[in-house]
Amino acid sequence: MSAVGTAAPYLHYPADSHSGRVSFLGAQLPPEVAAMPRLLGDLDRGTFRKLLKLVVSSLQGEDCREAVQRLRAGADLSEERLGVLLAGTNTLLQQAIRLPPASLKPDAFQDQLQELCIPQDLVTDLASVVFGSQRPLLNSVARQQGAWLPHVSRLCWRVDVAISTSALARSLQPSVLMQLKLSDGSAHRFEIPTAKFQELRYSVALVLKEMADLEKRCELKLQA
């Protein structure tokens, strides 16, 4: 931490760690994480805990802009320093949460943070977020933030029977009207002729079967 200064974290090549494996932060240390250790040494612990709580709220999808302003005012931190700490902590936690517990164990996590010269008590705090009771919630929020095509948020249907039309005196033709509301806010309404409806129903049943088969195949691969 002394003469080498801020360059010190960059000299910790992943392969140099005694386990010889790649850090959970990737082959190249993200710059915002690299910049953290030198700012943590003299940081008030209460302030760090507040900051950590803020980052966790943000990872859970909450709007934390006001909270950030309050933290800055209350803790007498420069904007630059606060920015580095927020970014670094956010990246660190995000990268750790991205990996399933089987891939990143608590000991390995703590070892790797210590190698980055992050103070031990702060390492403990960070570990309690990644491996503690909040983890399931953080996992589910991360899943929802994944790349998506729009999905159906609401489906309404109606079956109409045309009794008579200008072209057909006696129609008695059933027709399915469907309204889809999507996750991107759009709505679509369309009619499904009887023949197409049967095709749709058959296709959806087939899709479900294929999905179940795929899941079974994936499970077998993971066990192997």
């Binding site: 995000q94 949460i97 991205r98 990996l99 399933p100 891939s103 996992n139 991360a142 899943r143 933030q145 994944g146 790349a147 998506w148 095509l149 729009p150 999905h151 159906v152 489906l155 249907w157 079956v159 029977v161 045309a162 039309t165 200008s166 072209a167 057909l168 005196a169 006696r170 129609s171 033709q173 059933p174 027709s175 399915v176 009207l177 469907m178 889809l180 679509h188 309404r189 369309f190 009619e191 499904i192 002729p193 009887t194 197409k196 409806f197 095709e199 749709l200 129903r201 296709s203 959806v204 049943a205 899709v207 479900l208 294929e210 999905m211 179940a212 795929l214 899941e215 994936c218 993971l222």
Partner: protein
Amino acid sequence: MAGELESSKALSGLLNGLAQEAFYGHQGITEELLRSQLYPEVSLEEFRPFLAKMRGILKSIASADMDFNQLEAFLTAQTKKQGGISSDQATVISKFWKSHKIKIRESLVNQSRWDSGLRGLSWRVDGKSQSRHSAQIHTPVAIMELEIGKSGQESEFLCLEFDEVKVNQLLKKLSEVEESISTLMQPA
């Protein structure tokens, strides 16, 4: 003259032409075209009422979507009428309706569809493995592409993603629809 109007082959052609214009939406099949192609020896003055009669008969049959019993009764009545049709002509009309009934009905039903309709469906099942936020997902995801369009207009393609739960929910709703249709269409 009457002899020409009796021709079965010509009448068959005439009914086809009338169907194209009235039910399948083909433009440009004029009175004159039909006459010159099918009844060249017949004058326009004589052809016109004959054409109107056949057109009227065909429209009655199609509009009522007659089954074969109704058709027979109807055509028999037409043969007995003053200024009606001959039994040979009745035979030609009957044969025509038997082979075109379903297609003509479909076309007429479509004439009263003005909203967007589902034209096609494609699908794919992927195994999601990783994302920026999660390293190992291993869940199957279905992608469905719905082709939706109005009559005479270009289709719109809707691409949607479903997880297993959502596919199940969709299937359940479609089963509800199916049950509703079956109940409605049960004979009283």
